[in-house]
């Protein structure tokens, strides 16, 4: 599966917009992503290992909050879409 990185966080992924990952669930995907790009970690995971309230994670078009949260299963062709809150006006 692939993870879509929000623009505001791409400076922590060397500018990469899409990152290919092999993970069975959301927690594993985020762990891989933050291992590959350690500077992402404080922006995607809190001290408790949970996703902070200023980031939304979608599997395809559905928020993991409406699925099984970090335990949501992933298929190889799923897209993990990270949405960071932005406020430019």
């Amino acid at each position: 599966m692939k993870a879509l990185i929000p623009t505001a966080l791409r400076r922590f992924t060397h500018g990469n917009r899409l990152v290919e990952l092999q993970a069975d669930n959301v927690a594993a995907a985020l762990a891989l992503l933050t291992t590959q790009y350690p500077e992402l970690r404080p922006h995607l995971l809190g001290d408790d290992g949970k996703i902070p309230n200023f980031v939304n994670v979608f599997v395809n078009d559905t928020n993991i909050r409406d699925l099984d949260r970090e335990a949501t299963l992933l298929a190889p062709d799923d897209e993990l879409i990270l949405v960071a809150s932005i406020s430019g006006g």
Binding site: T7, A8, R17, N53, F54, F58, I81, I86, S87, G89
Partner: protein, 256 residues
């Protein structure tokens, strides 16, 4: 929404092309004329929202924006002009909108949204378009829009990415449902092309026209995320939080 005056012959002539939209027509145009919209701030996003709604024939705009025109406003804040540098932005906004539509009623406030003015500003309108660069202002508008049961269009951007959703209080996710907390790293200054802020602004104006006139399907319950760097668009489902501190106990509310 209060019925004011019927469309004049001049207005029928000006809005003729948009009244050809089959499910909009003269009835939709009359609804826009009878409507009031609050927009804040009226910068990169808000200036284009205001200009499009003034062009479309919305009857009244309530606008809030502080400060004087700066040179760095001019790449995106299309209601500011070079000859107005150093003078109040809100006067440039008023002047430019009335040049386009002299029939427009404008309540122009030279302040940004704050605790002291949010309720009064939002109580005067039928719909709110949130174009503020700071989360504190966005959360205030969200809170008051829910309290007054006013539809709220949320338009935001960063660099070449933009987000838009429509909040129908009591029916769809509010800003706090989607983002309960502001990111600690957000700053007032951000990278922006005027063409990007203008893109999400035009979409915000379209959402406002749809909500006010009752045509089409709005983005309520969906967050449209777009990356104009590669022209990718995702329509993402967003749901209410039953424990939302702002709208969790809110019952359904619609435009009158």
């Amino acid at each position: 929404m209060n019925r004011l005056e019927p469309l004049t012959p001049e207005e029928r002539d000006i809005y003729r092309w948009q009244m050809w939209v089959s499910d909009f027509g003269e009835v939709g145009q009359q609804k826009l004329k009878d409507s009031s919209v609050m927009i804040s701030r009226v910068g990169g996003v808000g200036s284009v929202v205001a200009y499009e709604l003034a062009a479309a024939g919305v009857g009244k705009l309530v606008l809030a924006h502080a400060g004087n025109v700066q040179p760095s406003d001019l790449n995106r804040q299309l209601l500011m002009t070079h000859d107005w540098i150093g003078k109040p932005r809100i006067e440039s906004i008023r002047r430019r909108l009335l040049e386009l539509n002299p029939r427009l009623e404008i309540i122009a406030v030279g302040e940004n949204v704050c605790e002291a003015n949010a309720a009064e500003l939002i109580s005067q309108c039928d719909l709110v378009v949130d174009c503020a660069p700071l989360f504190a202002e966005r959360y205030l508008m969200n809170e008051q829009a829910v309290a007054f049961q006013k539809p709220l269009i949320e338009c935001a951007m960063y660099e070449m990415e933009a987000h838009i959703t429509t909040v129908l209080p009591g029916e769809s996710a509010c800003l706090r449902c989607i983002f309960p907390q502001a990111p600690p790293t957000w700053t007032r200054e951000f990278p922006v092309f005027g063409a990007v802020s203008g893109t999400v602004a035009c979409m915000g104006a379209v959402e406002a026209i749809k909500v006010l006139s009752g045509i089409g399907e709005t983005l309520s319950g969906r967050l449209l995320r777009m990356d104009l760097r590669d022209m990718s668009f995702q329509s993402l489902r967003v749901s209410r939080r039953v424990d939302c501190e702002i709208c969790g106990s809110c019952s359904s509310g619609k435009l009158n």
